[in-house]
């Protein structure tokens, strides 16, 4: 495997694991990390979270990753675990670009 692909996969995997652990701890989910699939829906079906949980997630993401969700973005960013990972990776990249 090419080193840049390996690095990208590791980065994705690490962020995914951190987001899953964050969801479990901040929402006190009764699941192990292995039971949460990346494309699990967060609201309605899937984990069945509610609007209070959404606030918890936004606060936890800011605390853990230093990222903030814009109001317009949050509707789509909070659809699945993977969509949260996308936002974290994208904002981390943006923050890195800003610093450079």
């Amino acid at each position: 495997m090419r080193p840049e692909l390996k690095e990208k996969i590791e980065q994705r995997e690490n962020t995914l694991n951190r987001v899953i652990e964050l969801l479990i701890s901040s929402l006190q989910l009764d699941h192990s990390s292995e039971e949460l699939d990346p494309d699990t829906p967060l609201f309605g079906t899937g984990l069945g979270l509610d609007s209070v949980d959404a606030v918890e997630i936004v606060v936890a993401l800011e605390s853990e990753f230093g990222i903030s969700l814009e109001e317009g973005d949050s509707m789509f960013a909070l659809r699945t675990i993977n969509s949260l990972v996308d936002v974290v990776l994208r904002q981390s990249e943006d923050n890195l670009d800003d610093r450079n």
Partner: protein, 342 residues
């Protein structure tokens, strides 16, 4: 526009209807109706009145053979979903819940016809045709209005309702629906159109990826299973797989051209998986699909793949942003949609 395009446009922008003879609905009655469901379903059967839960029916090897909702209405339980015939499901439940005696099952398709309404304004049309009580129905909620059974679910990512109409009253309801539906630019959406939307939204389809002998762990459907329950059909197989680990996973992807089902997916000339299903996404203007990818290539956000020279990129599901996420029954209306600035 072709009929298919009209149907698709209606699902994504207004409301579409379809007869759904493929939808199964069983009513379970008796003091042990919920015990019977609890015996055969892999999810926890804690349901409040009017609540639905999305789950699966698994064979003894842990492979899903039916995509179902379990529902409670008063003292009765309902099993709604797709897969085998109602008779086959009844026989399977009878076999697997042999220790549960006080319950009986009725196939409601013998007395009711099923109709699906999907679209960002399905709620508004439903309320005008069937009464404003429908507006208060939350996602994964059910209600009986007179003799009409209303289930709010759907697999298109838009507001969705499954309606079970008494056969002898169907024509009356249908006439009213078509009449009022005209003011909503309602169109008919056949199964191919609805399948297209199911694919875009990465909903599980028992008739497509459900035919490949994959477990809920490989299908990313663990949320349909209880993490505590240990005694449902297939539980031992699921438990063994959780212990040993699994090495392939269903992943959403996009391609600029159509790729064939079963086509091999490569990464630097190494075969890393294959396509299970793919189709055109009008909302995106490219092709979306589901691939079975091996670890560690099974992640979203990777653009390192090829299918016979066509580049393939994995993405987070769903593949589309649904208008229904922005439409609120409390603030919006189909009739004022241009002023609503959604």
């Amino acid at each position: 526009m072709t009929e298919t395009e009209v149907g698709y446009h209606a699902i994504r922008n207004s409301v579409a209807f379809a007869e759904e003879p493929e939808l199964r609905c069983l009513q379970l009655t008796g003091s042990q109706a919920f015990d019977a469901l609890d015996t055969v379903c892999p999810c926890d059967i804690f349901l409040q009145d009017g609540q639905m839960k999305h789950t699966l029916l698994l064979d003894d090897t842990g492979i899903p053979f039916a995509d179902v909702y379990v529902c409670r209405e008063g003292e009765n339980a309902y099993l709604l979903g797709y897969g085998p015939s109602a008779d086959e499901i009844i026989n399977w439940i009878t076999d697997h819940a042999a220790d549960v005696s006080d319950f009986s099952m009725t196939d409601l398709s013998k007395s009711h016809d099923s109709l699906a309404l999907d679209g960002p304004y399905a709620w508004e049309l439903c309320a005008e045709v069937f009464g404003s009580d429908v507006l208060g129905l939350p996602y994964l909620g059910m209600r009986i209005l007179d003799k009409l059974l209303v289930f709010r679910a759907g697999r298109t990512g838009e507001y969705g309702y499954h309606l079970l109409l008494p056969i002898h009253e169907k024509d009356v309801y249908l006439e009213k629906l078509l009449d009022i539906g005209r003011t909503f630019e309602m169109a008919c959406a056949d199964m191919a159109v609805r399948d297209q939307c199911v694919l875009e939204n990465f909903f599980f389809d028992i008739n497509r990826e459900g035919q490949h002998g994959l477990t809920p762990l490989e299908l990313q459907l663990q949320w349909r299973l209880s993490s505590q329950k240990t005694t449902y059909p297939g539980a031992q197989a699921i438990s063994a797989l959780r212990e040993s680990g699994w090495t392939r996973r269903l992943t959403c992807f996009t391609t600029p051209e159509l790729v064939n089902a079963d086509a091999e997916i490569t990464c630097d000339d190494e075969i890393v998986g294959h396509v299970l299903v793919a189709g055109y996404s009008p909302a995106r203007g490219d092709y979306v699909g589901k691939a079975l990818l091996c670890q560690p290539y099974w992640h979203a956000g990777l653009d390192a793949f090829q299918v016979g020279g066509i580049p393939l990129k994995t993405i987070s599901a769903p593949a589309v942003d649904n208008l229904s996420l922005k439409v609120s029954p409390y603030r919006h209306s189909f009739h004022t949609r241009t002023e609503d600035l959604i």
